[in-house]
Amino acid sequence: MKGKLAALALASPLALLLGVFLVVPIGTIVVVSFFDYDSVRIIPDFVWTNYDELLFSPITWKTYLQTLKFAAITWAICLLVGFTVAYFLAFHVASPMMQTVLFLVCTIPFWTSNIIRMISWIPFLGRNGLLNQALMSVGAIDQPLEFLLFSDFAVVLAYVHLYALFMVVPIFNSMVRIDRALVEAARDAGAGEWQVLRHVIIPLARPGIAIGSILVVAVVMGDFVTVRLMSGGQSASVGLMMVNAMSLLQYPAAAANAVVLLIVVLLMIAAMLRIVDIRKEL
């Protein structure tokens, strides 16, 4: 009995913290999503109009598809880049000292805020930006490339730049724990470089890949700043829909959208966890 009380007491600070800062706010959002509103007030009520207007509007579906598209492309590129970098760090850099140094080098971009990292692409990619000027001066093109900025390309580029590290870190973490003897054993058994990668390293790095994927997908699904700045406001995302609603004081509409987005992201994460059982493999 005493042990049980102590355990409860030990768990209570975290429970309290999660209760106050997670459960209550989300509960509030759910409640508000059923409220009614006019142009200046929100009116406590229980109406389905917010969900009605959201789910039966083609704009919503289009925007969700667009956001999923961004998430999928970003995820694929981040995975490729993140896996490659982590693989190089874990298996091709010999000394642990050098590994740490190079790993820190990867984090350097994170020393500035992500808004600044994003905005710095604008003068680089713009019509009269550095890249276009350079390409034109070497004669590679004679018209500036317009698709570089304020386009879906720019959005994905910024996402990859911002979030690739989220993929590198967990994958690297999984890889350094792989017992080198397994790799040697595979080689001794006659496996080539690709076979080692395919049958030993990738399966053992799966928890890292899953964690990285969850981070990247969750962040991209909820983003609105990157989409707005890099697409020049030409593209929409679910987050941006909510921001627009909130800026017009349509909080219940934004809350309903937040609830739907939360459910969508939770389903996506559940699906990923079905593929990789992180807890079992950590």
Partner: protein
Amino acid sequence: MTETVKVRGIGRRKALLAAAGAAAGSGAVTGFPTIWAQNIRNVVLRQFGTGVSNQNAIAEKCKEDLGITLQMTALDSDAVVQRAVTQPNSYDIADIEYWMCKKVFPAGTLQPMDTSKIRLFDKIVPIFTTGKLRPDSVIAQGTAPNTVSFVDGPGSTRFASSPTQWFTMIPTIYNADTLGIRPDLVGRPIRNWKDIMDPAFRGKTSILNIPSIGIMDAAMICESAGVIRYGDKGNMTRAEIDTTINYLIQAKRAGQFRAFWKTFDESVNLMASGEVVIQSMWSPAVTAVRSRGIPCVYQPLEEGYRAWGGGLALAKHLRGIQLDAAYEYINWYLSGWVGAYLNRQGYYSAVLETAREHMSADEWGYWMEGKPAQGEIKNPQGQVMERAGAVRDGGSFYDRMGAVACWNAVMDEDRYMVQKWNQFIAS
């Protein structure tokens, strides 16, 4: 404002000295020898509003002249509307825009002012009273200030159609907005709103992505292009909204727009970097581009301007000495110093005659009369804005404010309009 903070922080003797200084200052400068001028000296008024007119220099000067402490809070326009309605006791003075007034005043959290207590009421620019800048002017579409400037009686929230003794807001700043262009890059004269849709500028235009204002610019463009003729641009029907948005979507699909901007600095950067050559713009943004040495013109257009304006309103809970102080503050606001300060930023102020007394002849000529500057024109911070020979884009006050086609507005179909606007952005 900083002064009071200091006073509170230091010892009693210094505080007394400072108070004495403030008292001497208020006696010398105000020129309003009112009986209760001494009593209002220690009153604190909490004012909130958008950043445009909520300026610390005004609070400092007010402290110096009247002794009233103004605590300013700057919020974005959406938050301003919400606070004005939902937290009526959190402020004493609301600095809101006229289109907001249409939403906020009927909520019953503000009280109208007695015009007999406003000394310069008769001198206020008539746009805000009769609605007619000149006797023969036509009142523009949208939420024209005069339509929300008066209510029936002291306790009323119903707007009166003609001037009464009960005034809802004292105008602070207002201006006429149009398109900004890069004269070096457009390569032809720009005369109409529809010029932004010229295929020659494909991929080099932008409009602002703030639905309630963007839709008005869009309306000016559509009407100019002959797509539609509105009953009232400021209060469109669903069919009118559909037509407008469909036209925008077509243009977007054809690649007409380079980007949509939401903040002041975005509009400056788009223009300065040459990403766009013609776009919706605000007057200070044009100045900011020009101050980088890049040519930029706030182009007057044949169809006229889209105008906006803001004003000060009194919270319902104000009474007694606080109410007296608020009236005194408003009277001071109209008495000239503030007007000159705002005019020097390129905005317009409520009472022009008194503002003129606080401006040099050259300043007045440049900002208000459309005359070429004789010497350097400086902003209130002392930075040089224009050199000798420069002429203000659009000319004189009467040329600009006399050519207003519509005012920023709230529509009855607001909710529908926002849905359609989101569709445009998502398409």
